[in-house]
């Protein structure tokens, strides 16, 4: 099994699906010859030409709207939104149009499109190029949300997304594009709504989305040194969410920390934590802990930016306290 980067994994997924289905096309800013600022789509235009790898003006609402209309009438567009922060620009087309058309039409119209965008801070890009806005999208009924945590997930989830008949938003961590993982050579797709247990444990469940999965895995290694056995779960998709894998784990470990790079207030961590509290309350030995990005706009200065996102050390520290019973009344 070859080791490839997350960027290559995304590129392969797009190419394979475009070869399989000629209604699939890619649209966005600088996706053709430039291959995006992150070089994720490099080379695709040579195989599929500018007919299917479509460079647009800098008009995010415009090309998002075009994708919705194309999807409603028989195409399967993949929209490349250069930065997750630009979601605010496309919100009407995504949330008022794409998300609602199937429902509003009583099931007659479909919007099979994929919006690929990114998340993640610590790239020294400041407040308008560093946000992790998946919770905004997950809040809107009618949109599916996938959060690949490595090249393996990125390829498998994207291929599933392209074949889905609903609008799907995929958030890739822009700091992970060069991170490598083993990816099968043969065709595979990862189902939505199926979480992965990456490490089994008995003392605490660490639930980490996107790159927070790696943070949780590192935290688990640190905890191992203290004799604490942590289970690590990657939900892979937020919508649909694999509640049963999470609940089953927490019922066994009796403690949970939810780690996500979105802002903590009213966010992904709150949603998952509340579901655990509602549905596994009597199995818990301690409150469910949430760890999201700090509730501040992402600052530029490295010394400030680095403390806004959860770290492995931070997660391990919380887990130690949780297991020691210190966090019951002292969050």
């Amino acid at each position: 099994m070859p080791e490839i980067t997350l960027s290559q994994a995304v590129n392969q997924a797009i190419a394979e699906e475009m070869r399989r289905d000629e209604t699939v096309f890619l649209i966005g800013e600088d996706v053709a010859e430039a291959g995006t600022p992150f070089k994720v789509t490099s080379g695709l235009v040579e195989e599929f030409s500018t007919d299917r790898i479509i460079d647009t003006p800098i008009s995010e609402p415009g090309f998002m709207g075009l994708a919705v209309g194309a999807a409603m009438t028989g195409s399967r567009p993949i929209v490349d939104l250069m930065f997750g922060d630009f979601l605010f620009l496309v919100m009407d087309q995504l949330c008022n149009q794409a998300a609602k058309i199937h429902y509003m039409s009583g099931g007659k119209l479909n919007v099979p499109l994929v919006l690929r965008t990114n998340l993640g801070a610590t790239r020294r890009s400041a407040a308008q190029h560093s946000q992790s806005l998946h919770a905004l999208v997950a809040h809107i009924p009618g949109l599916k949300v996938a959060m690949p945590s490595s090249a393996y997930e990125a390829k498998g989830l994207l291929k599933t997304a392209i074949r889905d008949d609903n609008p799907v938003v995929i958030f890739e961590d822009k700091l992970m594009y060069q991170d490598k993982a083993f990816v099968p050579e043969e065709e595979y797709r990862l189902p939505f709504g199926k979480a992965a247990i990456l490490r089994e444990g008995t003392d605490v469940t660490l639930i980490g989305t996107s790159s927070m999965r790696q943070v949780c895995e590192k935290a688990a290694l640190l905890l191992e040194q203290d004799g604490i056995n942590a289970e690590v779960i990657d939900p892979r998709t937020l919508v649909p969410l694999d509640e049963s894998t999470i609940l089953d784990s927490v019922k066994r470990t009796s403690r949970a920390i939810v780690v996500d790079e979105g802002h903590q207030n009213f966010g992904t961590t709150a949603e998952i934590a509340s579901r655990i509290s509602e549905k596994a309350f009597y199995f818990l030995d301690a409150p469910v802990v949430r760890m999201g990005a700090m509730d501040v706009p992402i600052p530029f200065s490295p010394v400030l930016e680095d403390i806004t996102v959860p770290t492995a050390e931070g997660v391990a520290d919380k887990a130690r306290k949780l297991v020691a019973g210190e966090l019951i009344h002292a969050l």
């Binding site: 209604t23 096309f25 007919d51 299917r52 647009t56 003006p57 008009s59 609402p61 415009g62 090309f63 998002m64 709207g65 075009l66 994708a67 919705v68 209309g69 194309a70 999807a71 409603m72 009438t73 028989g74 195409s75 567009p77 009407d92 087309q93 008022n96 149009q97 058309i101 199937h102 429902y103 509003m104 039409s105 009583g106 099931g107 007659k108 119209l109 479909n110 099979p112 009924p141 009618g142 599916k144 008949d165 609903n166």
Partner: protein, 313 residues
């Protein structure tokens, strides 16, 4: 075209009555007075051609082939409506006739229409998409983004601006700087103005542009000068603060699109008064039969509330 316009007028009269009788949930936006726009354009389209519509969309739906029963059922939130009662007046979609749906966000469908045209070009299909919108929507930024791309890529889309003189409760003169047509021309899009009360003129222009767009010579922009007889919505009764009763009377008396076509048909000896009256009565009885059907139709079962959030499978 006379029948089609009569159907729209009669549909709206019934919809208004359903509102006044408190039989219809919510509000609705009447198309009365603008019939020649929808009919003149949609009569130039094939069933495979697409349209996108607006919050004032009943006329577009009827002109593109919708039937009374499913329309009234949707207005009343009944399960036999076009959207199983989930869309209502502002979201009627009828994909079998190429109607991609009315849209309650002003200007919200401009991307969809242009995207449909992009799909036609990519898939080498010869269908044309018409994007209906009002003068108010010309103030939305999305319009300029998508017209730019439509012009760059020569997409088979026709932007049909129904200029009824009012952007909700405000005169268009107060919200639109310069000339609306010039905005389209700035992108190199050929733009035309037409009397939106003259269905023959509208249809002649639309037919010519649709055929050109079909051959890859699009996009085009049409500004159709028209008038809405009712308020912004059915509840907008006292509107003298933004337009005069005299002005309304003038349009209704001298510029009614159905009267204009009727006069033409009589002058040309194509139809006489009796025939037109009979036709109108027939449409009225069809509509009232459909209203009765809709009133007696079932509401959706409450188990449908969480159906259609996602396409399954």
């Amino acid at each position: 075209m006379y029948t089609q316009m009569a159907k729209i007028r009669v549909f709206e009269d019934n919809a208004n009555q359903l509102y006044l009788d408190a039989k219809m949930p919510g509000l609705t936006h009447m198309y009365s007075g603008e019939e020649a726009v929808a009919v003149g354009i949609c009569e130039a389209l094939k069933v495979t051609d697409k349209i996108t519509s607006t919050h004032r969309g009943h006329g577009h739906c009827m002109a593109k082939g919708a039937d009374f029963r499913q329309m009234f059922c949707e207005l009343l939130g009944k399960v036999n409506g076009y959207c199983r009662g989930k869309g209502g007046s502002m979201h009627i979609a009828d994909q079998t006739n190429g109607n991609l749906g009315a849209n309650a966000i002003v200007g919200g469908s401009m991307g969809i229409a242009t995207g449909s045209a992009l799909r036609a070009k990519l898939q080498k299909s010869d269908d044309v998409t018409v994007c209906f919108f009002g003068d108010g929507a010309t103030a939305q930024g999305l319009m300029y983004e998508v017209m730019n791309m439509a012009a760059l890529w020569k997409l088979p889309v026709i932007y049909a601006c129904e200029n009824n003189g009012y952007s909700e409760y405000t005169s268009t003169d107060e919200i639109a700087a310069g000339e609306i047509l010039e905005r389209a021309r700035a992108f190199g899009i050929e733009a035309f103005s037409v009397d939106g009360q003259d269905v023959i003129a509208v249809n002649r222009l639309a037919s010519e542009l649709v055929e050109k767009a079909r051959k890859g010579k699009g996009p085009f922009f049409i500004e159709l000068m028209t008038y809405r007889y009712h308020g912004h919505h059915v509840g907008d009764i006292n509107r003298t603060y933004y337009r005069s009763k005299e002005e309304e009377t003038e349009w209704k008396k001298n510029r009614d699109p159905i009267e204009i076509l009727g006069t033409f048909l009589k002058t040309e000896g194509i139809a006489n008064d009796d025939e037109l009256r009979e036709l109108y009565l027939k449409v009225r009885s069809e509509a009232s039969e459909a209203v009765d059907y809709a009133i007696n139709a079932d509401y959706p079962d409450i188990s449908e509330v969480d159906m259609h959030v996602f396409q399954e499978g």
